[in-house]
Symmetry: none
Subunit: 261 residues, 2 copies
DNA sequence: GAGGTAAGAG
DNA sequence: CTCTTACCTC
């Protein structure tokens, strides 16, 4: 089973690129972030025509997340991260697909630091921690996947020294990410490529992609139960070079069939 | 000599379509309207690369007119319709190309009727009348060409009864157009196709092009001196069906070489 | 730089 | 509907 994440930065503007990539990569499950479309303007018809069914949680202008699947039924579990009924931003959607809990997230950016947006990010991470601790405790096969807006280590950024006070790299969020891993979640891409520079995002500005001035923000975390099934993975970084591409590249992993292990 | 007019509705957004049509139609002279670009953002390089030189009068957001020519020198005569120094809208540019006076215009829309915009339209037509009377008096070979925003007759609109109080069809502007023809100007497209329904504009709304709910707004008027050289003409209406097309279609005529008559 | 929104014009 | 500008976010 191939599971992917792609921050599309506008699902309608990105549709040609998204469909081209789906056709090429043929993932079984795709988590999308930054739909930037209200619920009723999700391009379901075109997604269906490409062979995918979908659930999504839209929002006008910002955020918005979706889970797509080809050939597997999608059973929605929830469309909000528990812990704050006041939080109306569409950043989390959770479903069960082929007996696996898929948690698709678009974690707050948090800039500027310091400030209320950074505080919101920390609070959001706390709530995520509670949810993911539960999943671990319940011993479920689960995937936490999406745009974390967290650069996990100095090795995951072109010039670490420039990022010290950026919300994507602040020590608080790196520590929180590390704490999740300590609980048992596997950073699958880093595990597969322990020594390689791997980026998933290159800014539109300053020809960041041409200079490979990127950062690693999009992650696929596997619960202990699933970790042994990790077969392969990667970043489709060439997609970032396509015409009218998102500033993120798709990230994917492949899991061994359950019977095989 | 093939002379064309095309209301592009944004010269920068329309560039792929414009270049494709230029390549296909190979006009010698092209009058453009609704550049919707300030003077410094006219895409001269791309126009030059397509083999055309150009003069233009831009304006931020609205209006804007240009004259393009392939292989002929363009001698600019004026870039404003005489008669009102207060009028700063870029709606008129005049040049001599191959001994012919080319008057490229984007006549005010004039809606809503009644109101100051309609009054401005009538005043603009008055000034145009003065200028074109002069050209007739001087016996010059001249072409008045562009988007007149005038539906000349009931035969030039899908459903005339719906347009009685529209500034494009108001009796005042139709009368004014008729008066120009009486002075000696030849409505070349109508002359070539006296019996046919001919439209040059189809609204973006309500699938107007699919329903062929169009109107005839773009005209090519020939001075008496030139009328005998009229060889052929037409509307490239298929261009209106292209992806990302303008709401207008290009209109063109072909003149016999001067020696030939 | 490139998405989104909104208003104004057509 | 589809242009434009100006603004906001990342």
């Amino acid at each position: 089973m191939k599971i992917a994440t792609y921050n599309v930065n506008g699902v309608n503007g990105r549709l040609p690129v998204l469909l081209r990539w789906l056709q090429e990569a043929q993932p079984d499950v795709v988590c999308l972030q930054e739909l930037k479309a209200p619920q009723e303007r999700f391009p379901l018809k075109e997604i269906n025509d490409a062979g995918y069914n979908a659930i999504w949680h839209g929002q006008k202008s910002w955020n918005g997340v979706a889970i797509l699947s080809k050939g597997y039924e999608i059973t929605e579990v929830q469309r909000a991260l528990p812990g704050d009924p006041e939080d109306i931003q569409s950043r989390y959607i959770e479903a069960i697909i082929d007996q696996i809990v898929i948690c698709c997230l678009y974690l707050p950016n948090g800039n500027p630091y310091p400030g209320p947006k950074f505080e919101y990010k920390l609070a959001w991470i706390d709530r995520l921690k509670k949810r993911t601790d539960e999943l671990i405790k319940m011993d479920l096969p689960a995937v936490i996947i999406g745009d974390f807006n967290i650069i996990p280590t100095p090795f995951d950024v072109h010039k670490p020294e420039r990022w010290e006070n950026d919300a994507l790299y602040r020590i608080e969020v790196r520590k929180a990410f590390e704490k999740m891993l300590k609980k048992g979640w596997l950073d699958s891409i880093r595990t597969l490529f322990p020594e390689e520079k791997i980026y998933t995002f290159w800014d539109y500005l300053y020809k960041a992609y041409d200079r490979d001035a990127g950062i690693r923000l999009d992650h696929v975390l596997l619960s202990p139960y699933l970790s042994s099934r990790l077969k392969s993975g990667g970043v489709d970084r060439h997609v970032r070079g396509w015409e009218k591409s998102s500033d993120h590249a798709p990230v994917w992993i492949e899991l061994e069939k359950e019977g095989k292990q």
